[in-house]
Amino acid sequence: MAFAVVSDLHKRYRPGAPEAVAGVSFEVSEGEIFGLLGPNGAGKTTTIGAMTTRVRPTSGQVTIDGFDVVRDAVAVKQRIAMVPQRPNLDRALTAIEVLTFHAAYFGFGRQQRRARAMELLSLLGLEGREDEEINTYSGGMAQRLMIARALMHDPRMLFLDEPTTGLDPQSRLFLWDRVADLRARGVTLLLTTHDMAEADLLCDRIAIVDHGEVIALDTPRGLRNLLPGDRGLEIGVTGDADPATVFQRFGEVEVADATDDGRNVRIYATNPLAELVAAADAAGLRVEGVRRIEGTLEDVFVHLTGRDLR
C-alpha cells in the first residue's frame, strides 16, 4: 500500500526561474526503502522538502499516509522525521537534551523521553557523550545524533538527505547498518544520494532524477536491465572519425558529448579489447582509456543521460 504519494509535483522558486522540480510523480510503499538518485541540483532536496512540508509546491500534490502536506501539515509532521544534509542541532542544549526536548515537542512523557533517549544514544554509539555540548561533537557524531533525534518520536517515515555525504568510511558503514535495522523495524525510508553504490546497496526501488524529472524508476535490478547489454567496454577516444560509425559493427554504441579529453564511447559487445582497439586505429582514432562496463547504476545513469555523474 502506498504510504507516500507524489503526483505531478512542480516547484519553481521564483517566477521566471527554471523549475527545480518539473513534474515528479512516484509512490513509496509502507516499509519500503526508496532512493532518489541523481547529480547535485537534480531536484532531490526540493522533492524531499515538499514531502516534509518545508517546500510549498508550485503545483501538484503530495500526501503522506493520506494527509496532504499543505493542508494537513501538522498531521504529516506527526508521521515523519528528517535527517538533513547540514547539521541543524539545537546548539543551546546538550546531546541528551536535544533528544528529550524533541520528544517533548511530540508529546512524550518525561520518563519515556529519558529512557528512549538513552536507548537511542547507545544504539548510535553515543553513550557516555550524552551530557556534552553539541559544539564539541564531530561531524560524524552530529550526524548520528540527528538520526537519534529523528527516531525519538517513532516516525512512520524517515527522510535522509544525502546521509553519507562527508562521512568517513567507517561512519558510512555504521549508517548503512542502521538503515538495515530501520527496515527491520518497518520504518518507511526515503533517502537521496548521488552515490550509486549506496543506492544499489540500500534501496528496494530507485528513482533516477535529472533536471527536475524522474527519468527512470525501478528496482536496482530493473534499472540495470535498462542497459543494452550487461557487459561491454567504455573507451575514451580522440580523433576526427565518428566513433558511432567505427564501432557499430560490434554491437550497440553510445557516444557521450565531446570534452577536452575527447569522447567516451560505450560499446555493448563481448568482442576482445584488441579488436576494438584495432578498429579505432584503422579509423585514425586514438584510444586514451578503457573501462569495463559492469552494469552498475552509474552505467545506467550514463546510459540514460549521456553524462557522467561526477
Binding site: 522525521a81 542544549l93 511530540f106 512524550f108
Partner: protein, 271 residues
Amino acid sequence: MSAPVVQAPQLGQRRAQITAFKAMCGRDCWVILRHDLAGFLAQSLLQPLFFLFIFGRVLPEIGAAQGSYGAQLLPGIIALTLFLTSLQNTALPLVIDFSFTKEIEDRLLAPLSAWALAVQKMVMASLRGIVAGLAIIPLAALILPGGVDFADVSWLGFVVLLLVGPLAGASVGLLLGTAVEPQKISTMFAVTLTPLLFTGATFYPWQALDTLRWFQVLTLLNPLTYLSEGMRGALTTIPALGAGWVALGLVVATAIFGTLGVRGFTRRATD
C-alpha cells in the same frame, strides 16, 4: 535494533499543537535558566541601567537636569526595557536560526503550524522582556536620587502594560527578524533601533513636546511612544497620553507588525 520502548502518543492535531507549543516554551525557559541567565540579564539590563545612571543621577548631580527628572525618566526606561528586550530577543535569534544554524528547522518539523511557532517565539521573547522590565525597578530604586515612588500607581494599568507592551516589541522584532536578508541585518538594526530608542517618549513626556509640534506628531508613529506614555500615566501623576490612545496605539501597532511579522516568518519557514 530493539523494538521501541513506547509508541508515539496519538494526539489530535489541536492537542498536538498545544503540546508542542508548551514544550517549546519549556525548552526556552530551560535554556535561559540553565545555560544563559547571566548573559540574558547583562544583555537586557546594561543599557537601561546606564540610561538611568547618566540621565537620572549624573545629569541632575552636575546641574544639567532637574532633580525630579528621574521620576519622569523611570516609566520611560521601564517601557524601553520591556519593548527593546522583547524586540531584540525575537529578532536576533530568528536571524541566526534562519540564516546560519538552521536550528529552526527542527522546530518547524515539530507538529506545530508555522504561524503558531512565530507566536511562540513572540511569547517567549515577551516573557524575557517582562523579567527584564521588572528587574529594572529595584535597580532604579538604588540608582535614582529620589528612589522609586509607587504611591500613585495604577496597578491595573501597570499590569496590562507589562503584558501588552512586550508583545508590541516582539511583533516589531518578528518583522525585523524575518524581513531582510541576513547580510543586511546589521544595517537594518542600525537604522531602526536608534530612531525607535529616541522617538519613543522614553526620555521626555510626550505632552512636553507641544512646542516642537512636528516632532510630537512624528513620535506617534513609534509604538514605544504609547508604551512609555502609558507607563508614565500608570506610575506617575505627570500628564500623559490618555489610556484610550495608549490602548489604541499599542493594539494597532501589535496587529500591524504582528501580521506582517507572521507573514514574513511563514515565508521564511517554507520555500
